[in-house]
Symmetry: none
Subunit: 260 residues, 2 copies
Amino acid sequence: MPDHERLPVDHRGSPLAALAALLADPTRAAFCSALLDGRAWTAGELARAAGVAPSTASEHLSRLIAGGLLSEDRQGRHRYVRLASPAVATLIEDLTVFAETGPEAAGATPGGSSAGPARRPGPAPRTLREATRQSAEARARTCYDHLAGRLGVAVAEALLDRGLVSDHAGLAVTERGHAWLAEQRIELPPRAGRPGGRPVVRSCLDWTERRSHLGGALGAALCRTALDRSWVERIGSGRALRVTPDGGRALHELLGVEVS
Amino acid sequence: MPDHERLPVDHRGSPLAALAALLADPTRAAFCSALLDGRAWTAGELARAAGVAPSTASEHLSRLIAGGLLSEDRQGRHRYVRLASPAVATLIEDLTVFAETGPEAAGATPGGSSAGPARRPGPAPRTLREATRQSAEARARTCYDHLAGRLGVAVAEALLDRGLVSDHAGLAVTERGHAWLAEQRIELPPRAGRPGGRPVVRSCLDWTERRSHLGGALGAALCRTALDRSWVERIGSGRALRVTPDGGRALHELLGVEVS
DNA sequence: GAGTCGTTTCGGCCCCTGCCGAACCGTGCC
DNA sequence: GGCACGGTTCGGCAGGGGCCGAAACGACTC
């Protein structure tokens, strides 16, 4: 089943070299780093972000997908691409940590599930400004158009706990969930879930929390609602969010969510 | 401090790409795999093992050292080279596991020996000499600085069975385990488990057995003890080990391990 | 001092690969 | 239907990097 073994390039039968070669190109590495936010990017977005021609990006993406690092999702004339699994995210994260901190520190983090210190994306903060920004983003931020960070994860888990969203063979909004949304006057776009439309609810790997939060039309609607009703507001121009006093009350009443 | 950032090659400022490029060459990858036995090899030995000219090997080694993956130790006309740190070994192990098992399995937990087809490390043996070497290594060998092969797996399971190591939310040495270590006069390095130090115990997927053995500071201490007390000794120049008669008795008495 | 051996440096070869622009294709919108 | 747009394929170009052999260097041996 794994076709990552039949790579076009000849690495003299070294799977290690073949895998490393995928990440050894600055453009492909930039793609992977960008995708570490857990979002799905289109080919064009990645091309622009990395500063290469669309044709170049297309070829790189094909190689990364063939190598099993990325998975694609073609919708209309768009090609959405994301990291293939949390394992890929872990791998890239580990390599980045090593590359930036050197052989001593890397690997000191406890493996897997044990309770390690929250790992930060990107380079370790070198300035106070950078550190506070990262801390704010870990608390609450937008991920494309939905909520992420500790807040996003907490909301996702609350929805699952209360049976508003189910996780049987894929995420879905339950009957109760639809009723709850109507009651709260939160509207999903009409074409959501229809063929060609946006998926209703999607799980999105949360980089800072190592857990998933909710994306898709539902995630977007929740985020839009939270902004519209001033439950959260943006801090500066980045992705970081602040929960307002009103928002704290609303989230607690509606979902039992406590924001730290 | 890190001069791995100033690599001669221009990777457009991507530390990730620069690091991956070091492993993206089959010859360098072969060097690193060979060095995973934790020993110091000379430049010539590595050249022969990888089947390249000494001049080629010399250049590769210089790049690996400049990149922080290897450290060197020049003695007379020999250039001994080894992995720079346990973190490097972990990194290469993780990459190899991912490259050989694909994005799903990587990052698996110790107990998670899914029922996959038994995958062999390199190519099937083509000569008798090669076959006996593989057989010896499957029985007992070093994996960087700890025990692997059937012996390593048996020791790991014995420690778990006897409650000296627990597997609740990550591997850890229990109270009884610490007492047992003290009783056996096996010492862990003082900084083990501290922030920035090496993890005390970590699981390491054993590719000959498809099960996990124990690495980390505990794995290293056990292996060092076994060698110091002549429970095991090296066979030839590879990573294969032989259990001595004394070692067989000791392992049976202390852990109930029977070596086949 | 001559010879051997492990290693390094240098020059040169060649393939591989990343890049782009141009042309092409399919989708979606007006 | 016409047009805009995102993505892909192809040809061609240029640079990088891996490989070797020859020669040089230094260490150890006799």
